[in-house]
């Protein structure tokens, strides 16, 4: 039952993004190729970062619009058409990136659902990193899991142990996990380790560091995960 519901909301999320309008309010001209590049980087960052990153749903929506438009144009092209088939191949590649990106986020949302939805527990406001659809999904997921735990076990427990202490029991991302990153914009005097001398990060250099020391650099796009 719960599973059906989850699947329902997942497809809702995907459909909603197709329907919603293209979002170009950033005030800068970007080509589709640049959007695709940013989306691919967002995909890799999300893949390697231990915690949920800021949602890049506007890139996803922009690409979905592009795909839709392209598919519209391709309707006239026959099966054996060379150019049409190349376009279709490209669309498949972009679709893969989009769905992988959304799936990675959903996996993180499910894994850390209570941590994300608990507003007071730490300095990062994860709720603001969710897209509208993801927020609905996370809320429902939390409620379903909590209801399930209650009806399955907690309600049958003696009163002194029949409540859920979310602060103690929920999984949290390991922000100290190691990862590989490359420097996109040079940075001066970054503390890669509290006991060590600060290091300058040169453009194009690659480092193996803990996520926590570079998370703010990742947020403003000075480094990328690789």
């Amino acid at each position: 039952m719960a599973e059906n519901k989850e699947r329902g909301s997942l497809s809702d999320i995907l459909n909603d993004s197709v329907d919603s309008e293209i979002n170009e309010d950033e005030g800068e001209e970007v080509t589709a190729a640049e959007v695709l590049e940013r989306l691919e980087q967002a995909w890799l960052n999300e893949k390697f970062a231990p915690e949920l990153l800021e949602s890049k749903v506007e890139l996803v929506e922009c690409m979905l619009d592009q795909i839709k438009e392209m598919e519209e144009n391709l309707k006239e092209a026959g099966k054996g058409d060379l150019v049409g088939s190349l376009h279709r191949l490209e669309i498949q590649r972009i679709r893969y990136v989009i769905s992988s990106y959304l799936k990675i986020r959903l996996k993180k949302i499910e894994k850390y659902a209570f941590h994300i939805m608990e507003p007071s527990n730490d300095k990062t406001d994860y709720i603001s990193r969710l897209s509208a659809e993801e927020h609905v999904y996370a809320k429902e997921y939390c409620k379903n899991v909590e209801d399930l735990l209650k009806s399955l076990a907690l309600d049958d427990m003696p009163p002194n142990i029949n409540s859920l202490d979310k602060k103690k029991s929920v999984p949290q991302p390991n922000l100290d996990s190691y990862l590989f990153m490359k420097v996109l914009q040079p940075q001066e005097q970054v503390e890669l380790d509290p006991d060590d001398q600060p290091t300058d990060l040169e453009e194009g250099a690659q480092h193996l560091v803990r996520y926590s020391v570079i998370s703010s650099l990742l947020e403003n796009g000075a480094v990328a995960l690789t």
Binding site: L36, L86, L89, R93, Y178, D193, A205, H207
Partner: protein
């Protein structure tokens, strides 16, 4: 990351092809390509080159570093240098293995090229293992790994990152409880 995704990323890079068909510019989402004229070289992403090759629509021109002379030079340089040399492509092995698989007839001396690239890979992986060993012995908490390619990073990622995560937990425990601490 799954190795197939490393391949997927490498397929974005552009290679030169010699088409045998005529076509105007193609306006892909990732950029415009063409025009294509039989006998005139054109640049396309690797995924497209391989697809066209499979349909016998083009010959792929191997990148200029993919010949015995250059590869032997690179191999010697890789052996001599202490650090990793910069490879001609961020995904030289993926590119080479894909071309050797799908367009072997377009690469002169394919067998030798294959052996040389495998040699370079092995020299680099040995270097990588050695540097990890040094990193562990020196108890470094971070490392700089310039010029390492995607596939090389990916091949050590699962082991190295989880081992370092563990060591970090141990190290934090020692800082919190110095009296019980041993070497770590």
């Amino acid at each position: 990351m799954d190795p197939s995704e490393v391949d997927f990323l490498s397929e974005k890079q552009h290679v030169k092809i010699l088409p045998n068909f005529k076509e105007g510019r193609i306006f892909l989402i990732s950029g415009d390509l063409g025009p294509f004229e039989p006998g005139l070289t054109a640049e396309v992403p690797l995924w497209m080159a391989v697809n066209l090759k499979q349909r016998k629509k083009c010959r792929i021109i191997p990148p200029d570093w993919m010949n015995i002379g250059q590869l032997e030079e690179r191999k010697d340089e890789e052996k001599e240098r202490e650090y990793f040399t910069e490879m001609p492509s961020k995904s030289y092995l993926e590119l080479a293995s894909l071309l050797l698989k799908s367009a072997r007839d377009d690469i002169p001396h394919a067998d030798e090229v294959q052996t040389l690239i495998k040699d370079i890979w092995e020299i680099r992986m040995a270097k990588l293992r050695k540097s990890i060993n040094i990193m562990m012995q020196e108890k470094e908490t971070h490392a700089r790994l310039d010029n390492l390619t995607h596939l090389e990073i990916n091949s050590i990622r699962p082991f190295l990152t989880s081992a370092l995560d563990r060591m970090h937990i141990l190290r934090c425990n020692v800082v919190e409880n110095p009296s019980t601490g041993t070497d770590y």
